[in-house]
Symmetry: C2
Subunit: 182 residues, 2 copies
């Protein structure tokens, strides 16, 4: 499991062996229930215990904007900012010819269907700037530009970051993406 | 000196003691010469052995754009990107009421004079997003907006960065600063 090496694994195993059987049964049941109950939202693909997730079914959220992310982890990170109040769409990965993942294996068709309704005024592509991320951004962007305005999140100096320690690519993006001072 | 703790200092001192006297004299002379020869460019304030630095005296560089930085380290970082081909202005620090540094102690008056000539079409503020950096950006921006277009570099996800690991402020800035996909 991620972040658990042989030493941590042994410590966890010995800890579980030292606990009463009921406690271990509780954990085992919880794990199974979690796996059985949590599926994907039919609308956006986010993890959800209900057929439609809390965000998609929230009538207070702006349903004219869709923020497209690679996976639920990124959605959770964006939710923590409390800056975005639209809906989401979770692709379930990125296009990666190296790993044999094409557009068909991702949640892209359902995104096009959502946008094709004509109700969506903006699609924000919030995808990390890796090689796979760029490929996916341009593929999805091209598909959706026929229907609506497509934007992507800003790349540049991270907040609290120092110019001096930024890599050259990031600095170049920061200059390229400069904006008029308000 | 920065990055040199007691152990490194001892190692360097013992190394110098083990070298012949001529070599140590050479280093001492070089240090003095360096300090005597290198001053500040009269135009932009960058480190320079000449009265006017190489960048300011380069006729091939676009002299309608000035990129404002806090110090020469940031200028060097920007030069490494090879993306910027205008001139610079080095403030020599940031406004910091806590440290008793006001606008008068910085290279701001000479910047206003350069911009007031009317030849400058854009001033790019490339200042790190710290508290002092923001203060300086808004102070200098306000001063210059009477004369010309003032932009600032982009803040957002660093290149190669992962959304999941970005802090909330940076993610919020990345959403706020989103741009239309080309």
């Amino acid at each position: 499991m991620p972040g658990i090496g042989p030493k941590s694994a042994q410590r966890l195993a010995l800890h579980l062996l030292s606990r009463p059987i009921e406690e271990v049964e509780g954990l085992a049941t919880a794990l199974l229930q979690c796996k059985q109950l949590v599926g994907h939202c039919q609308v956006c693909g986010h993890l959800s215990a209900e057929p439609v997730c809390e965000i998609c079914s929230n009538p207070d959220r702006d349903d004219t904007t869709i923020c497209v992310v690679s996976d639920s982890r990124d959605l959770i990170a964006l939710e923590k900012t409390k800056e975005y109040w639209g809906k989401y769409h979770v692709l379930g990965g990125l296009i990666s010819p190296m790993a044999g993942i094409g557009p068909d294996q991702l949640n892209i068709q359902s995104l096009v269907q959502r946008v094709a309704t004509g109700q969506i005024q903006e699609v924000i592509l919030a995808i990390s700037p890796s090689v796979e991320g760029e490929t996916t951004t341009f593929y999805v962007g091209k598909l959706l530009q026929n229907f609506t305005k497509v934007t992507r999140i800003a790349f540049g100096i991270p907040m609290g970051g120092d110019l001096e320690y930024a890599d050259e690519m990031t600095l170049a993006k920061a200059i390229e993406g400069r904006r008029e001072l308000q």
